[in-house]
Symmetry: C2
DNA sequence: TTGCTTACGTGACCTACATCACATTCTAAA
DNA sequence: TTTAGAATGTGATGTAGGTCACGTAAGCAA
């Protein structure tokens, strides 16, 4: 299925748009393709856009003291990502986004998102819904961090995204769980 | 200043409403007062409302195995709280909200929020803005958890909310930081 | 093929923090 | 004012997970 159709179906699960309205909305998105390893946002960049994943897998991550990487999110098809802090507050990026696999995305600028949100009430509703969902997911993840040890978080992740196990290298899974790759290796060899 | 005026000023920083519009919006909020220690949402409850804090301080927390408490958020004036997972997905509460001090809040039902959001585009915009802010704050907190040790998180918290140090008991600050009260005590005695 | 880089496993040791135990305040109700 | 229950400090000890070190295997370019 092509990008346009995927976005259409995704939005139509939440709000009803006429064909003309959707065409208009879609005209603000720019399709982009990336190769495995390509960087989309890197620390210090001016951030203008957010990204809707059509195919492939991105990672959104933070690098501490030029050494340690922490992955905030793996973005699979129909997920959105960006450095939202930088995007909303018009500051330089503090986090990075790049491609774990070849990927197709749809990109929309902050300005255009705000424009279509103010022009089409239903679209504003859609983006509110989407951010709500992200907020709840982020709170859940925070709770899991406070409450669970590495092993439980690992099992949680695999239950949620079984595909990840074969799709992404183990050291990236470790960076998502917030443990060292050595610890992760010990976790699943004991299991 | 009274509750109504505080809400008005808070909303007007983001969107412009006519007096009639604001009156209409405000008519959907119910003012409530609580005593220190009173419970607002408790695990297992049906969750119908979210709460805007006018005065006082609430805590939003999770209790693990009936033993350990993790505080997701302290809610000071102009903050919002609820069990948003339960509220949006119409499931039973898994987290709790109660009062650290006497508190005044404004309460709005999920139904009424959705109603005024669909009736007044500007209000939908306001709630989208608010959730964005919450999402970014939640991501920052997650990153801080992954990246910093307890001492750094403690200093971060005090820098962000200096009032908290005298307002809330130390074991609650520990529960927010995700460390034991003993560890917290050692942290600031060494500092 | 040869080499080079990245991924991954595993042992030895270290550290931040938890847990338990007990003492000392503080606070609010009787 | 008395007193029971919270809140807090602090020592002793246990442990999850980090760090360092080294080895093997797998992918990839020349």
């Amino acid at each position: 299925m092509e990008a346009k159709e995927i976005l259409r179906q995704y939005i139509s699960k939440i709000v009803l748009l006429s064909d003309e309205q959707f065409e208009y909305v879609f005209s603000h998105f720019k399709p982009l393709t990336f190769k495995k390893g390509q960087v989309i946002i890197s620390e210090g960049d001016q951030v203008d856009c957010e990204y809707f994943v059509v195919s492939g897998c991105l990672k959104t991550f933070f690098i501490n003291d030029e050494i340690k990487m922490y992955i905030l999110q793996f973005s699979m098809p129909t997920w959105w990502t960006s450095d939202y802090n930088a995007l909303y507050n018009d500051t330089k990026a503090t986090i990075n986004v790049d491609c774990i696999t070849d990927a197709e995305v749809l990109c929309i600028s902050n300005k255009d998102r705000e424009k279509i949100c103010s022009e089409i009430h239903q679209i504003e509703h859609f983006f509110r819904w989407r951010t709500n969902k992200g907020y709840v997911a982020s709170q859940k993840r925070l709770l899991s961090f406070m409450n669970n040890d590495a092993k439980k978080r690992y099992e949680e992740l695999l239950a949620l995204y079984p595909q990840l196990y074969n799709l992404v290298p183990k050291h990236l899974i470790a960076a998502y769980l917030g443990v060292s790759r050595e610890t992760l290796s010990r976790l699943y060899s004991s299991h």
